[in-house]
């Protein structure tokens, strides 16, 4: 249920953006979710629906998942993170704090833990649209 905390963060930030941009009502929110964090989308969607404030009551949440692309800083190799290859305990640690990937994942080519998360780390607010 860590998704609930992230949903609260989304609602709070969308509300702040709506306030700042003078939106009377929020119509659409685009969210990107990186696969490294392995967020359970149905729980996230449920939490978002439960946490909606008055200004967000008709808001539609569009959630897009983004593959987690990693690039080794030592040898330059690029690869895609796959949860299936992980043991459950490690996958869960990465779920809570995606940077823990550096503890358990190594570059498949040279073995370095010094890699960059090019995209697909965690949750990101892409756009907020609404009525002024």
């Amino acid at each position: 249920m860590h998704e609930w905390a992230l949903a609260e963060a989304v609602i709070s930030t969308v509300s702040q953006i709506a306030e700042k941009e003078g939106l009377k009502e929020v119509a659409e929110v685009e969210i990107k979710v990186g696969e490294l964090q392995q967020i359970e989308l149905d729980i996230l969607e449920f939490a978002l629906s439960q946490l909606k404030t008055l200004k967000l009551k008709n808001a539609k949440f569009h959630i897009k998942t983004v593959k987690a692309e990693l690039k080794c800083r030592v040898c330059g190799h690029k690869w895609i993170f796959r949860k299936e290859k992980m043991n459950e305990e490690i996958a869960e640690a990465i779920h809570f704090v995606p940077e823990i990937a550096h503890t358990y994942i190594k570059c498949p080519k040279c073995g370095s833990p010094d890699f960059e998360i090019l995209k697909g780390r965690g949750i990101w607010l892409e756009s907020v649209r609404g009525l002024r």
Binding site: S12, I100, T103, P113, G122
Partner: protein, 242 residues
Amino acid sequence: MADPRIGIIEERLKGVNNIIAVSSGKGGVGKSLIASTLALTLAKRGYKVGLFDLDFTSPSTHVILGVEGLQPKEEKGIIPPQVHGLRYMSIVYYSGEYASPLRGVDVSNALIELLAITRWNNLDFLIIDMPPGISDATLDIIRLIKRINFLMVTTPSRLAFETVRKLIDLLSELRIPIMGVIENMKMKESQFIQQQVEDRGITFLGEIPFDIELEEAIGNVNKLLVTQFGERLEEIAKDLEP
């Protein structure tokens, strides 16, 4: 467009009355021991206290507290477990006994993540054990926690104080509150640090003599609190109480 985690951090900390970053320009001055023992002392004195180890690449407070095999509870976020009367949070719950080789951007991201998802609920004090230096974690704490107070630790060495002085100057320029400076591992009589601190208009909270017994007390909090170090820190803690 926006990182949604940033917007919830103030909300997560709204039930915390005092947030204290135990900090220093240098490593090895006793920040983690002071942060842990201060947290334990305040808890012993009846306050609700949280301890957050923000030294992600070199966490050590779990060793001081003798924490093993604990995991935070998951409940609409994460609830730090109770350890010796403290709500205790550390990255070691996730990294275990392995190294966390993190660059600055990763330190920032992990810090934002944990601030966004950790539910501290109501606390009198949240003590943060900071990594040394004026780098990502320090800058992020200043950026993200508007009510932060810094408690600085130095040793009598001019090498340590040289870095602490820079941190004091930076924080003063930014108008970030500094609760004071503790001079740790004092081995001989000298007014140098106290003078330097007071000349800058900062409170000198006191000195803690080098305690040869301290190492033996690591991992045993009852023993830790009755060392000379623990007793001296309790005196200092009284001055930090509201």
